[in-house]
């Protein structure tokens, strides 16, 4: 019984919402699944953002066993850098397609650089001095850093949500497949996310530095004895996590067209839920978890009530912790027992 619960409990929990609504759609008057299909597409493009942020959590947790609370704020700063850089280079909706493409490419680079460097700095200032302290200490500084960065955002763009130009006309339909519409925003999210994920996975799986990262994650002391510079490797991990969060920030800004200083807090929790759902420390798991959470959010936004979406995500987080703390694809970790 206990085995069955821990093996299939999480999967059953995850399937509840989708199955209920598929049955509801099939039995309803219209008898088609286009609404469900639209939820799925929107969920995937939302989920792409969470996947990118979740990888940052998973990488960092894998290597220093710390929940980087400030990671959501790194994502938020990515969005802010994006919005500010638009204004700086003067991109508007009227810019021609080619210029817009290069402009966005440049902006993506800036957002990635800003978030990546910021994340490395956070590690240097707030976590490295405490690497030998009990676990509680860096977790508390992480919360502290998160508050500081929220204030940076607040002073940067003010306390209320800020609209930014809808450069790519994100809600405009590109194609319509059997009643399921795919918008510009969906394409952007997938077009940025998939290549980045492929590059990162290849980097970690094949490159020398990636190998060093994996070695440090397994056993920092042994890695040090093998001549790996553990400090540099940890910095590199934070850099990669930050870069991905920065790109997620760009997608978020272009997709939602409103940004504010508090977006990082919720995004951080949602993405962390995704990372845990997939199995923390597992890259593929983080991506899978991101997509699932995006989908759940979309179902809740569209079918239940947007005001309750975050509460529903948190309920899922707790259910995962109850049924399978090691997540869908994860190994048993020391913490999750």
């Amino acid at each position: 019984m206990r085995d069955a619960v821990s093996k299939y409990g999480l999967i059953v929990v995850l399937l509840i919402l989708p199955v209920v609504y598929v049955i509801k759609d099939l039995t309803s008057e219209e008898d088609n699944l286009s609404r469900f299909g639209n939820n799925l597409v929107d969920g995937l493009s939302n989920g792409a953002i969470w996947a990118l942020v979740a990888i940052g959590y998973t990488l960092v947790y894998g290597i220093v066993e710390l929940i980087n609370f400030a990671h959501g704020e790194v994502f938020m700063i990515g969005s802010f850098a994006t919005a500010s850089f638009f204004g700086f280079i003067g991109l508007t909706q009227d810019t021609s397609v080619i210029l817009l493409f290069f402009g966005l490419f440049l902006t993506l680079f800036v957002a990635m650089a800003a978030s990546g460097v910021l994340n490395v700095m956070i590690e240097r200032v707030a976590y490295r001095p405490l690497r030998s302290a009990p676990k509680l200490a860096p977790l508390i500084t992480a919360v502290g850093m998160s508050f500081i960065l929220q204030n940076v955002g607040l002073l940067w763009l003010g306390g209320s949500p800020e609209g930014i130009p809808d450069l790519i006309r994100s809600q405009k339909e590109l194609v319509d497949i059997a009643g399921v519409s795919i918008t510009h925003g969906d394409v952007l999210a997938i077009a940025v996310t998939i290549p980045l994920l492929l590059v990162m996975t290849a980097f970690i799986a094949r490159s020398r530095l990636g190998k060093a990262m994996r070695a440090t994650a397994q056993d920092p002391e042994a890695a040090r004895l093998m001549g790996i510079n553990v400090d540099t490797t940890i910095s590199l991990t934070f850099l990669i996590g930050g870069i991905l969060a920065g790109s997620a920030g760009l997608i978020y800004a272009l997709y939602q067209t409103t940004i504010w200083y508090f977006q990082g807090f919720t995004a951080g929790l949602v993405a962390f839920t995704a990372a845990v759902m997939g199995g923390i420390g597992n890259l593929k798991g983080a991506v899978l978890g991101g997509f699932i959470i995006g989908f759940i959010q979309q179902l809740s936004d569209n079918r239940i009530n947007p005001a309750w979406t975050n509460a529903i995500v948190f309920v899922y987080l707790i259910l995962i912790m109850v049924f399978k703390p090691s997540g869908l694809l994860g190994e048993q970790t020391r913490d999750a027992g």
Binding site: V64, E65, L66, I67, V125, A126, P129, L130, R131, S132, A133, P134, K135, L136, A137, P138, L139, I140, T141, V143, G144, M145, S146, F147, I148, L149, Q150, N151, V152, L154, L155, G159, P220, E221, F265, L269, F272, V276, N305, A307, W308, N310, A311, F314, V315, L317, I318, M321, V322, P325, R334, D335, A336, G337
Partner: protein, 415 residues
């Protein structure tokens, strides 16, 4: 990292450590002399100020927050379970006050209301009006149950995961408070019918951001009803709560249960194999800590005269956690100091500094960057003085690495 090469670790209790170490005083001083002096001075304090002054008001808040900080100290400091959702207990306590001591359920008993042991003005009003002492008892029961429920899913987890689950619970309670004005009692499945009969068709669960207001003032037997003009009685009730909570804290810390908490905190595997019942011990930590939060929450609901969903945000959990950390995790007097200090920083010092940035040509108010100031404080404390202002002896030994730190324990310490 500081390694003490060659020098043997100092024997326990050696009087060489830096800083104030209140817990190394003789127990009589710590548990009798200091409390009596503290409570006497504190009890006379408001007589020196105008009874309606904002200073006394801040003192009342300081006492209420200290009660919460002492409750959180049991969970985080004694038992080592990092709880980032303490605001949930504040919310539940405050809503208990709002539900059982205001005109919120206005349809009850044909709009005549239910009145239990209340006198004066409140006895005439519609809604449920129970005596403050009964509300406190109800709040303690509700929050203890809630604390144990929140504790249940975290039993198998350790460290960071506990922090996240408790945070999620805090957020769920917070969102429910905000969205509660959407939920009608009559719409609840199964029990909706009887609830509709009792509370009327349009009764909601909370009043959302509007807030439940006004809330009954404290109404104790043998004394005049409290008013918002004379804050001294509020202060003395708050002080009484602090005294009770301090007493419970000291008794618990030195009890079998308190030692079990510390044992679980230090090494769960070893403690369990020595026969400490992990489930019961952890749940009692959550339950006790939560009860104090609920008690103080009910008091604050009455004192603030409103139960407003916007009060229950993550920031509040961090404010209370900041008090515990500032004073020193696990240190009772440290937590009291932290509670008083942070409340005064928050309500007296920062508002006074409000226009400083604009004077030096910066375009913001200090009130905007409250979050950042606390964040900065947390980071600085953890890096410069992780053991807090008045550290507990055991914590101090752990956190300042005066013991035997080796290369090996550097990574082992993270587990």
């Amino acid at each position: 990292m500081s390694t003490t090469e060659g020098t043997p670790a100092p024997p326990a209790g050696a009087p060489k450590r830096r800083g104030l170490a209140i817990s190394e005083m003789p127990p009589v001083v710590e548990k009798l002399v200091i409390p009596v002096v503290f409570l006497l001075v504190a009890a006379l304090l408001p007589l020196g100020f105008d009874s309606g002054s904002s200073f006394v008001g801040t003192c009342v808040l300081a006492l209420a927050y200290t009660v919460m900080a002492l409750g959180l100290n049991i969970i985080v400091g004694f038992a080592g379970l990092l709880d980032l959702g303490y605001v949930a207990f504040f919310a539940i306590g405050a809503y208990t006050m709002g539900w059982l001591g205001s005109g919120f359920f206005s349809q009850v008993n044909n709009e005549e209301g239910w009145h239990i042991a209340v006198s004066g003005f409140a006895a005439e009003l519609p809604g449920i009006h129970m005596n403050f002492l009964l509300v406190i008892v109800a709040a303690i029961i509700f929050t203890t149950i809630a604390g144990m429920l929140i504790g249940l899913p975290t039993l198998r987890l350790r460290g960071d995961y506990i922090a996240i689950v408790t945070l999620a619970f805090g957020e769920i309670i917070g969102r429910s408070a905000v969205n509660g004005d959407d939920i009608k009692l009559s719409g609840i499945p199964i029990i909706g019918g009887p609830l509709e009969n009792a509370f009327g068709p349009d009764q909601t669960v909370t009043a959302g951001r509007q807030g439940i207001t006004p809330v009954d003032k404290i109404d104790l037997p043998f004394v005049d009803a409290f008013t918002s003009l004379n804050l001294r009685p509020w202060y003395w009730v708050g002080l009484g709560m602090v005294a009770i909570v301090l007493f419970v804290n000291f008794r618990l810390r030195d009890s079998r249960l308190g030692r079990a908490w510390v044992a679980l905190r230090e090494d769960e595997v070893a403690a369990v194999s020595m026969g400490v019942p992990a489930v019961k011990t952890k749940l009692l930590a959550y339950g006790t800590g939560a009860a104090f939060g609920g008690m103080s929450g009910a008091f604050l609901g009455s004192f603030n005269n409103t139960v407003n969903a916007d009060q229950f945000q993550f920031f509040f959990s961090i404010l209370i956690l900041g008090m515990v950390i500032l004073g020193g995790l696990g240190s009772i007097w440290g937590t009291v100091l932290g509670g008083i200090a942070l409340t005064f920083i928050n309500f007296e010092l920062l508002p006074r500094l409000n226009d400083v940035p604009s004077k030096v040509g910066l375009d913001f108010d200090v009130s905007e960057i409250n979050f950042g100031i606390y964040g900065f404080l947390l980071v600085i404390m953890m890096i410069m003085r992780p053991q807090g202002l008045l550290p507990e002896r055991r914590r101090k030994m752990e956190l300042t690495e005066e013991g035997d730190v080796t290369e090996e324990s550097v990574y082992a310490a993270r587990a």
